[in-house]
Amino acid sequence: MRRASLAVAVFSFLVAAIYLADGRQYSLGTMARPGLGFQPLVIGVVALVSSLMYLRDVLAGRDRDALSVRWPDSAGLRRILVIAIGVGCYLLLLPRLGDLLSGVFLVLLVVRSMGMTRWPTSIATAVVMGVAFHYVFRELLGVALPLGILSGLG
């Protein structure tokens, strides 16, 4: 399973290179007064060198951790993806539908993907939890969660 570590090393190198290149637009300042670009330059160079050294460690088989990585099986991966995509959809829906409806949607998605098989139980759980979150955070704690399409209802 060295491929994942190799990919991370290459990805880190690319990110460091982009960071370093973008950081060039900021002034380095002088020795007596370092400018806005000084810290990004140091971080970028260190990250670039570290990613290369890490790549060398992986290629040389020195990163023993890289050999013992256990990725989830396809079912596990599917559950992660469903939850991640569900959260992404929740975040896109939140400003439009509001916290209550999008919360119900997210809970429903998570409980179904985690193996709650009966629809009535899943829907009831989602509605109860969605309403509870809305009440506790919006009404009790005053968190300004978006109301979305429910804002007209007051």
């Binding site: 596990g76 809970v107 998570v110 985690m114 704690l141």
Partner: protein
């Protein structure tokens, strides 16, 4: 204020009804959250920072401190009862604790763990009161070069101590944290950096959503990937909670040993709590090789005591210097800053009620944990019977809403999701997520002290090595970096045998 007067003052602060309730509620919430799988103290504090924002500073900090202790106690309960801890220190406690549970001695294991925790916290808090007040008086003379040196040397030691098979992974993780904190308006020059024209990014990347994602959401992904539920929890009867005389005779000295050891480990940058629990376990193993490993109360009490002693130790650099070296203390720092309290040498001068109130409240919180957790053990165990789909949905929603609440930003919720994916990959590849968090906290400190130091010296970088404190720190750094290699070359032995945590967790997973 000397430590004794300070403690008396602190008890005066902590024993007001409002603060007392905050300590008790914090300890209860912390225990409840700590019991839940995947919930570490760092995530618990990140989640619960928002509700404390409307409290008075000392009340909010007292509650966060109590949550910290409570979470640790809760996690060790899960380790003892189920053998599935959320963090490495509890894993050590669970080695013999879970063995005891399997033999029907779960009650005894929980009892010695609670008493060990109490002893560890008591010794640790006395140490915290003494050391923090001495160190903060000493640190009043610190200027930017000294603060820069402490933060810089601390980070290097941390990378050295927590990096697993490849040190460069640690450096990369640290660079990620440092880099994230360069996004947004620079507080020194008020100019934007790496915002790519986005107004949302002007405020920068907030620490709390990153922690929620990197640690909390990543754990949720891991639990979701596993799919299988938790093992069934047995019943623990109240009468089973009382160990025999012989078990007490083993457990109490082990707790005292663990407490001292833990506090000393806590003072050193690095995965102090994990190292302390392992060191205590090894001491007990050396003293009773026949018993330890087969379900011995001393191997539960000692590491648990070391765990709590080390927690107090890690608070010393935070309170006295304003520099955190663990992810939990980084979250406590975020809590202090949210309340407008500046930790560091002037904390005891400007906000004595926060420091001494916290020390006293932690003591009270520990007494409360000891008293409450015996009768409430059945209630805590019932939390482990909540169906996993509901638990997961609850925690995912709490993390998202908790991160939104910090500054009412949907962008922060996206940060949770992205950081969750990154954190999951980092966890699988044994990258240290603590270093990302600490990079985000210590990065700005480095920048804030680096520039002014050079301005003071007119651009002469020798300012970082000419005063005594940086010199002492650099010497210590050389010892830490070169010491083990020199020792190995001279003796042919390793200074410290490698630590095997099992369950795929690196020593790095200690703090989150």
């Amino acid at each position: 204020m000397n430590p004794l007067d300070g403690l008396a003052y602190g008890f005066g602060v902590a024993l007001t009804p409002e603060n007392l309730i905050a300590a008790l509620v914090g300890a209860l919430i912390g225990t409840a959250v700590g019991i839940l799988p995947g919930m570490s103290p760092t995530v618990a504090i990140a989640l619960l920072l928002t509700p404390t924002m409307n409290m008075r500073p000392e009340t909010g900090i007292i509650m966060l401190g109590a949550i910290y202790y409570g979470t640790q106690y809760g996690d060790s309960m899960t380790a003892i009862l189920l053998g599935v801890p959320s963090e490495a220190p509890s894993m050590v406690i669970g080695i013999d604790g879970y063995q005891m549970s399997k033999k029907g001695r779960a009650g005894t294991a929980l009892a010695v763990s609670a008493v060990g925790s109490f002893i560890g916290a008591s010794v640790g808090l006395i140490g915290l009161a003494l050391f923090a007040s001495i160190l903060s008086r000493f640190a009043l003379a610190f200027g930017p070069p000294e603060f820069f040196a402490v933060a810089f040397v601390g980070l290097i030691v941390l990378i050295r101590m927590v990096s697993g098979a490849s040190i460069w992974k640690g450096v990369l993780a640290l660079c990620l944290g440092l880099g994230l904190k360069t996004i947004g308006v620079d507080p020194m020059s008020s100019q934007p950096r790496f915002t790519f024209g986005s107004t949302d990014l002007l405020l920068g990347v907030e620490l709390i959503p990153v922690v929620m994602g990197l640690v909390g959401m990543a754990e949720m992904f891991d639990i979701a990937a596993g799919g299988e539920g938790l093992p069934k929890v047995g019943r623990v009867r109240f009468r089973e909670l009382f160990p025999s005389k012989r078990e007490w005779a083993d457990a109490i000295p082990a707790s005292l040993r663990g407490a001292g050891l833990g506090f000393l480990f806590g003072l050193v940058p690095g995965p102090a709590v994990t190292l302390a629990t392992f060191a205590s376990y090894r001491v007990e193993k050396r003293l009773a090789p026949e018993e330890v490993g087969r379900g011995s109360p001393r191997a539960v009490a000692g590491p648990k005591s070391a765990d709590d002693g080390a927690v107090s130790g890690t608070l010393v650099p935070l309170m006295a210097l304003g520099i955190p070296f663990t992810s939990v203390t980084a979250m406590l720092l975020a809590g202090l800053l949210l309340h407008g309290v500046e930790p560091g040498p002037v904390l005891m001068l400007h906000n004595p009620e926060v420091f001494w109130g916290l020390v006293a409240a932690m003591y009270i919180g520990n007494v409360a944990l000891l008293v409450m957790n015996f009768p409430l053990v059945g209630m805590w165990m019932s939390l482990l019977r909540v169906p996993q789909p509901i638990l997961l949905a609850l925690l995912v929603c709490l993390m998202l809403i908790g991160s939104f609440a910090v500054r009412s930003s949907v962008l922060d919720m996206f940060v949770v999701l992205i950081a969750g994916g990154v954190g999951y990959v980092m966890k699988k590849l044994h990258f240290d997520r603590t270093l990302v968090i600490l990079g985000m906290v210590i990065g700005p400190m480095l920048e804030e002290n680096f520039g002014p130091s050079l301005e003071l010296s007119g651009g002469d970088p020798r300012i970082f090595i000419t005063s005594t404190i940086p010199q002492v720190l650099l010497a210590a750094l050389v010892v830490v970096l070169a010491g083990p290699a020199i020792f190995r070359r001279l003796t042919g032995k390793r200074l410290v045998a490698p630590v095997e945590l099992g369950h795929g967790a690196g020593p790095t997973d200690a703090a989150p």
